[in-house]
Structure formats: C-alpha cells, structure tokens
C-alpha cells in the first residue's frame, strides 16, 4: 500500500495500517475512512505520512520508487548504496534513511522527465 504524505491526504481515504504516536498510542485504526479532524491529529503529532489504500488517482500519490522502471531505478540504487560508508542495512534507522533518500532521488528523476503526452 502506498505511503501518502500528510498534505496529499484526502477525506475518505482508507487507512491500511494502524497509525500510532511515539508513545505507541493508537491514533487511527486500520480500516478507518480518514476525516479532516484525523488529518489535523496527524499534523499535531508530527506524523509525515501514513499508508492508505491505493485509489483511482494514485499516480501523484504513489511511491516514486515504484514509478521508475528497473533500468532507471537500479543504477540509482547502486550509486546511492556505494555512497554509504557502511552497508545501508546495518540498522533500521539507516535502512529508513536510505529508503527516504532513494525515494527523494526517484522523485527528482521523475520531475526531470518530460510530461506524458
């Protein structure tokens, strides 16, 4: 299921994974249709993105990494891995940073591509 950033969330989107705060308190249970009030709650807790069901207009919301063809993505991934002094799977936080940075790079590549006719 795609991660969707806070600013792209819309009322009615179906939350697919429980959303919890830093104290593990349940904020929004999986299966819930999102309300504006819940988006405000996410904002208040500093939660940047959550997982929701893919919807019809998912192109702008989908993970940019998934939108890149393998022949573009793999060199990107290899270059990024080579830039890290330690293997990127050394710890969960390193893995998370790697995934976020790869996604950022993939987004930059997509933005440079000419728009589809």
């Amino acid at each position: 299921m795609p991660y969707v950033k806070l600013e792209s969330l819309q009322e009615g989107m179906i939350v697919t994974v429980d959303v919890r705060n830093l104290d593990n308190m349940l904020l929004i249970p999986a299966g819930c249709a999102l309300t504006d009030r819940q988006v405000n709650i996410l904002n208040a807790w500093g939660i940047a993105e959550i997982q929701v069901e893919a919807c019809g207009d998912s192109e702008g919301l989908a993970d940019p990494v998934q939108q890149l063809p393998p022949e573009t993505l793999e060199p990107l991934r290899r270059d990024l891995e080579a830039a890290f002094w330690e293997p990127v799977d050394t710890s969960p936080v390193q893995q998370e940073v790697f995934n976020l940075v790869l996604r950022r790079r993939a987004k930059q590549v997509l933005e440079k591509q000419p728009p589809k006719p």
């Binding site: 500093g46 002094w85 936080v93 940073v97 950022r104």
Partner: protein, 289 residues
C-alpha cells in the same frame, strides 16, 4: 601536535566586521531598561544584518503568518538569541570568504553546512529541546575545522585530499593520518579560543563521536544525525565523498521515532534555498523604519 594546532587557529578573528554590531547589541542587552526598540535601533545601524534578519524572518524557516516589517518586530518574534546567532553565522561566512575555488567548492561546502544547521535545528525542535535555535549554529559550524585547514594550511589540505583519493577511506581518517588530528579538533580549538559557549563547542567537537561528549552527548548527537542525513541527501559537499557511519547509540540517545525523518528531510529541502540566500548572497536594500 598542539603547536601545529595553535599555529592553525591563532589570529583568526571571530566576528570580522560584525564585531561592532555584536558589542553594541550586548551593551543594550546588559542595560536594565533597554527595550525591543533600542535593540532594533542598534541592528538597523547595520543594513546588512537588517536585510538578512527581515529576509529570514519572513521566510519558511520561521513560517510566521504575518509579514514582519520592522527590525523591532523581527527581534520580538524571532528572539534576541536568534539575532545574535544570525550575526555569528554571517560573521563566520565572512571570515572565511577568501578560500579559493582550487581548494574547495565553497558554495557546495556552505550548502552542506547550512543544510546541517537546518537539520540539527529541526531535530532539536522535534526532540522538544529548549533553545532549539542554537542547533542551527552548531550544525552550520560543524565542519569549521576544514575551513581553517583550507585557509591556514592549504598544502597539508592538498596532501590530505591526495591520500584520501588514493584509497577507500574517510576524509577525517586522512586528516588524522597527515596531521595527527581531524577537523573537529581544529574547530574545537578555534571555538574555545573564540570563547564560544561550551554546549556549542562540544556539539561541534564531538559530532563524529557523540557518545564521547560527556554531558553534551545529546547536543553532539543531534549534530551527528543532521550531518548523516545531509550527507545521505547529498546536499552540498563538505569534501567527504561518503555518507559517514551512523552512530546507533546517538540515534537511541536522541530518542526520536524513524517516522520523523521524512518530515526532517522535507524541511531541509524546503528551507535550504532561503537560508542559502540569507547567508551566502549579498542582501538587498535594507528596510529601515
């Protein structure tokens, strides 16, 4: 080793042309009856600081809903500590302006440093640290020692780069191999000679070894994490080609959830341009009231 260190840092001015503004500001602050308007009057004497202050105050860095029109307004909402930090940061950029392009891509160097400042500040805010603003300066200055090397020991800096490029190693390892100490030690020595506050000195001195920072572990861990993130984002270059290792204990010491990282990275992306414009480009015409 210490003679070489002292040779490197001796005589580097701490505030350059900003020394007068800082001294006047402190005099007003120490006066028991001074007001925001008095502070505004002192700052407005310096059009450079005035322009930078209003530019930053009206940017996404602070995100205030209403436009700040006067220096007194800006000081009121931004805070006097932030104004002093702005002067400090501008002065450090000025002191090291003369470093040649053959030695380092200075625009890229400052981009990395400023991004680290933004990242450290955002992490400190997320961690609900008191006076989170000071972490901007700590991040900005974390590689100060490299600037000292470029400007005071250019031949040794070239030697370090040659060694570094000859094999797979970190730049700071090459520094230690050639000099016997790294850029963090140089920065620590310089900042102590400038009599900077201990928390700032230690946050910079231990940004590669935050768990050795004693009572300043948290401060140095925040700078360490910001440096790691900015290296991973490949935002600017400090000279180091690798994303250095992340100290897992530093991450645990800071105690944030991994879910916060996305918003920190986004904030760095959103704020870097305006912060670069504020510190690295000549400000526009100052607004006086």
């Amino acid at each position: 080793m210490s003679a070489t260190l002292n040779h490197l840092v001796n005589g580097i001015p701490s505030l350059g042309s900003y020394a007068r503004a800082m001294a006047e500001l402190e005099a007003v602050l120490n006066h028991p009856h001074s007001t925001l308007a008095d502070l505004g009057d002192v700052i407005e004497k310096d059009p450079d600081i005035t322009a930078r202050l209003l530019k930053l105050g009206n940017s996404s860095f602070f995100g205030f809903p209403n436009r700040l029109e006067t220096v007194a307004e800006a000081v009121g909402v931004i805070g006097i500590q932030q104004v002093q930090d702005l002067i400090l940061a501008s002065s450090v950029v000025e002191v090291f302006e003369g470093i040649g392009a053959d030695m380092a891509d200075m625009e890229s160097f400052w981009k990395h440093s400023l991004a680290c400042g933004i990242g450290a500040r955002c992490l400190a805010i997320a961690r609900q640290m008191p006076k989170a603003e000071k972490f901007f300066v700590a991040g900005l200055l974390h590689d100060l020692g490299r600037l000292v090397l470029f400007s005071r020991a250019p031949e040794q800096a070239v030697e370090i780069f040659k060694l570094y490029q000859s094999r797979r190693m970190l730049l700071r390892e090459a520094e230690v191999a050639i000099l016997g100490f790294d850029h963090a030690v140089i920065a620590e020595t310089l900042m102590r000679s400038w009599q900077y506050p201990a928390n700032l000195v230690n946050a910079v001195a231990y940004h590669h070894h935050p768990m050795a920072a004693g009572v300043y572990q948290l401060e140095s861990s925040l700078v360490h994490l910001a440096d790691y993130l900015v290296h991973a984002m490949q935002m600017g270059r400090s000279g180091e080609r690798f994303v250095p290792a992340l100290n897992q204990k530093a991450w645990e010491r800071v105690g944030l959830a991994t879910s916060i990282l996305e918003s920190i990275i986004r904030s760095i992306d959103e704020q870097i341009e305006i912060v670069q414009e504020t510190f690295l480009k000549a400000p526009g015409k100052a607004v006086h009231r």
